[in-house]
Amino acid sequence: MTLSTIPPRLPPEVSRTGISSGLRGMAAESPVSLILWFALALGAAWILPDLISWTLLDATWVAEDRSGCDPSGACWAFIVNRLPQFGFGFFPPQERWRAAVALIWPVAALAIALGPAFRGRSGLVAGALAAYPVGATLVLWGEPLGLRGVGTAQWGGMTMTVYVGTVAFVLAFPVGLVLALGRRSSLPALRVLSTVFIEVWRGLPLIAVLFISVVMVPFLLPPGTELPRLALALVGITLYTSSYLAEVFRGGLQSLGKGQAEAAAALGFTYWTAQGYILIPQAIRAVIPGILNTVVALFKDTTYVLVVGLFDFLNIVNAAVADPHWLGLATEGYIFVGIVYWCFCFLLSRVSARIEWDMARGAAREART
């Protein structure tokens, strides 16, 4: 009797498109492709000079208010003037370093994940993220640490976006995992409960979830109880995200095949050790793009916290655009928002690609040995 061989994991295919290969292969390309390239170049030549002179050459970077801006170019002075507010919300200036800590913490964790490999790197990144909900809340709030207390109404801007996104993801991750296992459980009650939970929360629009958690929940509480609106919103977003993550994880678990669980059982693993050492690691590895997809969607959905009266990055810019001193600069404001959101989402997608690449390399090494 021979052991059946497991097919080695193949490294992801490297895409062969892109500008450089496009230019190199131009001679060999079809006339249609050449015409497209030509049209693209023409379009760029038509739009680029205006774009560059508006965004850079005629732009104003320093001014007191809009009247100080050159009307022929972009008024970036507005962004420069409001940058601390866009970044840190309404944190008192001398306490802004705390908002900066909460903002940079997850970004630094991602940067480490993207940086050169070292021993214990993934453990460090995971630990930093796991500690974030409690750590960042303490740093921002401040009172338990003996710092000056800053109420949630003063949190805002990019700090709020990153805080809500990270906290909701970190808390939703284990909840989602448990829900996914519950939905695949052999215990009918557990299975039904998990399924109902997932379907209910996934079926509600996030905006409705937030509205319910902040407007309707106070109706149910004894009068006089006042919970921070941010806490209610975080619970809502976490439950919502966990139902999405649960389905992503279930996809990963279902891709494994029965043999894995059966082999683990035959080797004497219990349910939990089999899940913990064999099934879940493989399942997560299989669904990293799906997880990242959920994270990017979550990151952008955080803007709905406006429903509960909190200013995330987009809405703090939205409010600044209405400042009588800077009226009429919506274009500059939204271009800035777009660029920042794109940078964050691109960083996330790079991290995902990096993890996949590392794993493919690891799998290739395993296959060789």
Binding site: G89, A153, F211, V215, M216, P218, F311, A319, P324, L327
Partner: protein, 343 residues
């Protein structure tokens, strides 16, 4: 059967006892005093001249200051306001759920809103209405001169209907240029595709500032519709409603008697006028009857100034928006601002 009747009678008697009790008791006022803060619902920082955020994160504008005025009346300190930014669609529900004590959020008082929701408008603090924005170069100075003009208007709004009504009433012709957003209308006005842009005056003033050369455009003084804006409170708390209503009255009375932010303290100490003495708490127990300190009016005027000062600072000639007061002047000067006497 008999038992049932007794039950019903008891219930009726019980509710008859409960209803006035609920109207007199002031849970909102007690809650505000308990937390030493007024939860005031404002716009999400987008209501120019009424509630916006400055670069320090402070709320500014007419409605933000009205919140401060109410806080000053109750707590003696205009800084004790917790501003809760609310989107319009959530505002009324948030008020009903108790998340906020009141709204100062450009809510137009209409009959259906007043009757359908369990809410009350505690008076009117701005009489807004639909107006016209024209270029100064056009030489138009009154809405009556708009006969034959092309007018930019946002499609599908009550503004569009009001516009049609106005021109029909005055037997004038016009060409409506309907687009879907105010920004497009502003662009059309700027490229002279229309002679005038119509919207609520408060909105026009802000859109005007977004033009590349705001100073060459002006808002006509004529107003063709009613948009009464006022603070909104819950229906079940008469006492708090009275406090908000009298804060509004205090701003008007102060302007009537020439009481200003600068002279209010001195006036309170030295005035001989009986009504002024009652108003400023030197005589009588008028504040106590409202459930607030007797010097409530002094604190309010110290915080925001009288109505005229408040308006000019946030919306009027001392502000960027530079809106004419129009009917938002005292009744004695031909306006609509009128307050009951303190007696």
């Amino acid at each position: 059967m008999r038992l049932n009747r007794t039950k019903i009678a008891l219930l009726a008697a019980g509710s008859a006892l409960l209803l006035p009790a609920a109207a007199v008791a002031g849970p909102t006022l007690d809650a505000i005093k308990g937390r030493a803060e007024l939860n005031c619902g404002v716009s999400t920082g987008t209501s120019i001249g009424k509630s916006t955020l400055d670069d320090q994160g402070n709320w500014t504008g007419f409605e933000a200051d009205f919140c401060r005025a109410v806080a000053a009346a109750i707590l003696g300190d205009g800084a004790k306001v917790n501003f809760v930014p609310l989107e319009f669609k959530n505002a009324f529900t948030s008020l009903q759920s108790g998340s906020v004590d009141m709204l100062a959020r450009s809510a137009t008082w209409t009959m259906s809103r007043d009757t359908e929701f369990a809410l009350e408008w505690a008076g009117i603090y701005i009489y807004d209405g639909q107006g016209f924005l024209v270029s100064k170069a056009s030489g138009i100075t009154s809405a009556k001169e708009l006969a034959g003009a092309s007018i930019c208007v946002t499609s599908g709004t009550t503004t569009e209907l009001n516009l049609a009504d106005y021109f029909r009433t005055n037997r004038m012709d016009y060409t409506p240029i309907t687009v879907s957003s105010p920004d497009q209308s502003i662009a059309n006005l700027e490229s002279a595709r229309c002679d005038a842009y119509t919207n609520e005056v408060g909105g026009l003033a802000s859109y005007r500032l977004g033009l590349s050369d705001p100073d060459s455009y002006t808002i006509l003084a004529d107003v063709i519709s009613k948009e009464p804006l006022g603070p909104v409170v819950r229906e079940d708390d008469q006492q708090f409603e009275d406090v908000v209503e009298w804060t509004r009255h205090a701003l008007i009375i102060a302007e009537e008697f020439g009481v200003t932010q600068a002279n209010v303290a001195e006036m309170a100490a030295t005035t001989e006028k009986p009504e002024l003495r009652r108003f400023l708490g030197a005589e009588g127990e008028f504040g106590t009857k409202l459930g607030i300190p007797n010097d409530w009016a002094v604190k309010t005027i110290q915080t925001t100034g009288n109505y005229g000062e408040l308006f000019e600072r946030t919306l009027g000639s001392n502000s960027k928006a530079n809106i004419a007061r129009g009917v938002n002047t005292l009744w004695s000067q031909g306006g609509l601002l009128y307050a009951p006497p303190v007696r």
